[in-house]
């Protein structure tokens, strides 16, 4: 991992949260290299005992404008809770309307789910 180009950006937070290091590494690479996000930076979320990733999604035709999103990585094998999800929201400043949970599996598949606080209708 140390020889990987992503390592310098992540090294501090990988050291701080070794348990979630694998998920962080996988999601960071997926976002920067496969999903082609730009302006990507890592954040420290002590309330969730891990790092999160903030960046700009590539805009699609249906988007109204560029969107800055926050992604919280997590592995399939972990056990989380609704209070954990809400802590992710309150740790972020400014308070986002939604966050993305990136769920990683051992075969390097990463799936992204959008979590919003409150009762938010799906788009038509």
């Amino acid at each position: 991992m140390q020889n990987h180009p992503s390592y310098p950006v992540l090294s501090q937070l990988l050291a701080k949260y070794p348990a979630t290091g694998g998920a962080l590494f996988q999601v960071y690479n997926d976002l920067t290299l496969a999903q082609r996000w730009t302006d990507v930076e890592v954040l420290d979320l002590p309330a969730c005992k891990r790092a999160a990733i903030k960046g700009q999604r590539p805009t699609t035709d249906t988007d109204r404008g560029p969107s800055i999103c926050v992604v919280v990585p997590c592995s399939l094998s972990e056990s989380i809770s609704t209070s954990w999800l809400r802590a992710a929201f309150t740790s972020l400043d400014p308070l986002p309307s939604e966050i993305y949970v990136a769920i990683t599996s051992e075969d390097t598949s990463t799936v992204y789910y959008k979590i919003s606080q409150g009762i938010v209708k799906p788009p038509v």
């Binding site: 997590c74 592995s75 989380i80 769920i103 409150g118």
Partner: protein
């Protein structure tokens, strides 16, 4: 002040047997329930069901807590009828049967005197042609070949008003012979020997031993979430078809599709597996809904919501 609706409890389930009550529950209180009644003789009934309406326990709890309904122990509300009450019930039934038979006779005699009345012009013309053909064949000595659509012979009306003295248990009332329908009312409320005792609160019902819900944290969480969604004006239905506890509709389910599938999370720190987010989120998005994680906090008695959708990328 309107009378509270009687929820008839049998084996810890709340049923509504009166159509007017079902109407009020749906239109005034946006509680839908599900119809569970079937007909005795038909198999595979699962599309079109009738009375009674069965309520989810959370629905019954909310209605009683809000004073809209009271719980009634249905089995003990059916008392043994006194001999005189039973006699008048039997007489009423006998009168109904006699009326039915009289109407059948009347209809039969009208049709006998005017056989063409029920047939269409086309049918009358075809029948006439058939009869002419038969008459010609007969006069030609050709054996009569039955036509394809010969009308079935009308059943000769018996004289149904002859009463037969049958073996009745008390030997006082004899039933007439002839065919008639026996009507069994769905609701017991008009029966003279039905005397329900209302339990006006859940505590009272629990002490009487007829109602237990909610007893566990999971059940309290469901009641709390259901109530919160109800107070926000939503209609709720069962969620099994979409992998959740409830389907949450913005209006009457007969008019709207649901926007949400809701799961009840019994505590803020209850273990949640990421796979559940994947499963709920993908199924919700795949069916044009969002998944609602409804977290119950038993200490603060507050519900917090998180909406889950597939991100659309990745």
């Amino acid at each position: 002040m309107t009378q509270p609706i009687l929820l008839r409890v049998s084996n810890f389930k709340a049923y509504v047997w009166d159509v007017d009550d079902i109407n009020i529950l749906r239109s005034h209180h946006h509680i839908c329930g599900i119809l569970t009644g079937t007909l005795p003789h038909l198999s595979s009934q699962n599309i079109f069901l009738g009375l009674p309406l069965q309520l989810m326990p959370e629905e019954a709890v909310l209605l009683v807590e809000n004073g809209i309904a009271v719980l009634v122990d249905d089995p003990s509300a059916h008392h043994t009828p006194s001999p005189s009450v039973l006699k008048s019930w039997k007489e009423a039934r006998l009168n109904d049967v006699r009326q039915q038979i009289a109407l059948t006779e009347e209809k039969g005699s009208i049709e006998a005197s005017n056989p063409d009345r029920a047939m269409s012009e086309n049918a009358k013309r075809k029948r006439k042609e058939r009869e002419e053909r038969r008459a010609r064949a007969k006069s030609d000595g050709v054996p009569c070949i039955p036509a394809e659509h010969s009308p079935s012979p009308r059943p000769t009306p018996e004289n149904p008003s002859q009463t037969t003295v049958g073996e009745t248990p008390d030997n006082t009332i004899a039933m007439p012979s002839g065919s008639y329908t026996v009507n069994i009312p769905a609701s017991s409320s008009k029966l003279e020997w039905y005397a329900p005792r209302s339990h006006i609160s859940l505590t009272i019902a629990r002490e009487a031993g007829i109602w237990l819900y909610p007893s566990t944290l999971q059940e309290r969480a469901r009641c709390g979430v259901f109530r919160d969604l109800w107070e926000k004006g939503y209609y709720m239905g069962g969620g099994i078809k979409f992998g959740g506890e409830y389907l949450v509709y913005p209006g009457d389910p007969l008019r709207y599709h649901s926007h949400f599938v809701a799961s009840v999370i019994e505590a803020p720190d209850a273990a949640l597996r990421p796979m559940e987010i994947v499963a709920h989120g993908r199924l919700g998005t795949g069916t044009k809904k969002a998944h609602l994680l409804c977290e119950w906090n038993d200490e603060t008695q507050v519900v917090s919501y998180l909406s889950v959708e597939w991100a659309g990328f990745g």
